[in-house]
């Protein structure tokens, strides 16, 4: 009964996102262009390196890693900071807070429809194309299962971070600046721009202590490992689970404290 309530929001989201077909087409075109740039960029980088593997990653590994990172970004990015920021500025947030669903959950589920469409129309095709083009560089086995579990945890961590940063908008009334800072930090430190394997050792140690590596690096590393050791899998997933719980508590707590501060102009 309770789930049905949320699934209604999912359904509405699916229908809404199917409305904008032209924009979806342009987005696919944009991603395609990006993939082309990434391919040639790393091809020439590896060509000038002269060796097959750098930092334990071959050209194919790097390509799969970066392409899937982009695809993951496509469906994990929820623009929650924008949603929260806008509804604070317009006063809409008052209506959302009055709904019989906690705001944090409402926002998540009303976006979940786009999850479904993005997953089916962006991620899945990209994944299949990559798997075909690289001639079985992606191993089809247990690692797929670990990947799925890992992605679910990553979505949760990413949403908590988004929500946490969005809550800051209650204080600053700046959306663009806050959002761009978050995006830059997450994309760089999670390995979505450059795989963490290429980071200098000292920097990698720092990054491993932060939650961002659990968003992109963890699922992609699990996917690219054809014969994962149980210890490594447990460590990665455990770390993710830990961060998911920690970030969840942090973002919920911060929201609760901030709500007392809220001032709404009009609405």
């Amino acid at each position: 009964m309770k789930l049905k309530r949320y699934l209604t929001l999912t359904r509405a989201g699916i229908i809404e996102s199917l409305q904008f077909r032209l924009s979806a087409f342009i987005m696919v075109l944009g991603n395609l262009l990006y993939l082309i740039v990434v391919y040639f960029l790393w091809r020439s980088i590896y060509d000038s390196a002269g060796t097959d593997a750098v930092g334990g990653m071959t050209f194919t590994d790097t390509l799969i890693y970066l392409v899937l990172a982009t695809a993951l970004f496509g469906f994990m990015e929820m623009y929650a900071v924008w949603e929260i920021g806008r509804s604070i500025q317009s006063g809409q947030i008052v209506l959302d807070l009055l709904k019989p669903i906690p705001y944090r959950r409402y926002l998540f589920w009303s976006y979940s429809g786009s999850f479904v469409t993005q997953f089916c129309f962006t991620f899945l095709p990209t994944f299949l194309v990559v798997a075909l083009v690289t001639h079985g560089a992606i191993h089809f086995g247990l690692n797929l299962l670990f990947f799925v579990v890992s992605v679910v945890l990553a979505v949760s961590i990413n949403y908590s971070i988004d929500f946490l940063v969005g809550t800051i908008c209650l204080y600053t009334e700046s959306i663009w600046g806050i959002n761009i800072m978050k995006q830059v930090i997450v994309l760089l430190l999670s390995g979505a721009t450059i795989p963490l394997a290429f980071f200098p050792a000292a920097l990698r140690q720092v990054v491993n202590c932060l939650p961002f590596a659990s968003i992109y690096n963890a699922p992609l590393t699990l996917l690219l490992e054809p014969r994962p050791e149980p210890r490594m899998v447990l460590e990665t997933l455990g770390m993710q689970l830990l961060w998911a719980v920690v970030m969840n508590i942090l973002s919920k707590g911060f929201w609760r404290i901030s709500l007392r501060q809220i001032t709404v102009n009009g609405g």
């Binding site: 904008f20 032209l22 944009g30 082309i36 740039v37 040639f40 600046g177 806050i178 920097l203």
Partner: protein, 267 residues
């Protein structure tokens, strides 16, 4: 529409600019956060090159300093589009809501009036960072500082700016025909991220595409060749100022053509 002198337009621009800055200054926190956010994206680009060149010697035969030169060059040349033409991002919503009609009733050039309304100060942070990067790379590469080389740099920076401005104008103007032009604008804006790589890394087909169909290569690559590799400057580099002016003029005509078609929303 009667033609007025350049001095008249400069005076008007000063007046409008002053008003815009006053209204921006009433949101001081937003201004500061946005400027920092902008710097974050620039620094992140810098860091990713630094990480990359820690593991790899070159990108298709281009050294670290040369790539930094391209990066700095693209940042500086992107400043005008960021600072002076930022109102293009609002065009879609003002056309949609009907507010655009107010610009049509002013006795000055429509395009000028619309663009002059917003001056995006946070672009100045990017300008400073870009000049810093450019000077650093210039010094490291040991390029002689002569009147001619500085003059060339300035002329070719203007060229690159004109091309990016032209691309953005054209992208924004699509909203006179299609509803959601955000994705077109976003698509074109992502070009600037690809402008920082030398076009030689691409295969001939894409080199052609990025030169003549989507002129990304003119934003940094062809203009910088004049400074970076003065012995092997292709004809295209020398022609790029001409291309810049032609592209800009065409985009202006396209923008005005769309605006003249605009019939308001009836409100």
């Amino acid at each position: 529409m009667e033609h007025r002198s350049l001095r008249f337009y400069l005076r008007i621009y000063g007046r409008i600019l002053a008003q815009d800055l006053k209204s921006k200054m009433s949101y001081r926190a937003d201004f500061i956060i946005s400027t920092i956010g902008m710097l974050f994206t620039n620094i992140a680009g810098f860091i990713s090159f630094w990480i990359l060149f820690g593991s790899f010697p070159s990108i298709g035969g281009w050294r670290y300093e040369e790539i930094l030169f391209l990066y700095g060059f693209s940042l500086v040349s992107l400043t005008p589009v960021q600072c002076l033409f930022d109102n293009n991002w609002n065009l879609r919503s003002s056309v949609y809501s009907g507010d655009f009609i107010k610009y049509c009733f002013r006795p000055i050039n429509l395009f000028f009036y619309y663009q002059s309304e917003v001056f995006d100060i946070k672009g100045l942070g990017q300008l400073a960072f870009g000049i810093g990067t450019l000077c650093y790379a210039w010094g490291k590469l040991g390029i002689a500082v002569t009147v001619l080389s500085v003059l060339r740099t300035i002329i070719f920076l203007c060229t690159a700016s004109l091309i990016m401005v032209a691309l953005q104008n054209a992208a924004a103007a699509t909203c006179f025909w299609i509803q959601n032009s955000f994705y077109v604008l976003d698509f074109v804006t992502r070009f600037k991220d690809y402008a920082r790589y030398p076009v030689t890394i691409f295969s001939p087909v894409f080199r052609f595409l990025f030169t003549f169909v989507m002129p990304i290569a003119f934003i940094a690559y062809y203009p910088s060749l004049v400074i970076l590799r003065p012995d092997e400057v292709p004809l295209l580099s020398w022609l790029s100022p001409l291309f810049g002016i032609v592209f800009f003029y065409l985009s202006y005509r396209f923008w005005m053509f769309g605006a003249m078609r605009y019939s308001g929303t009836g409100s």
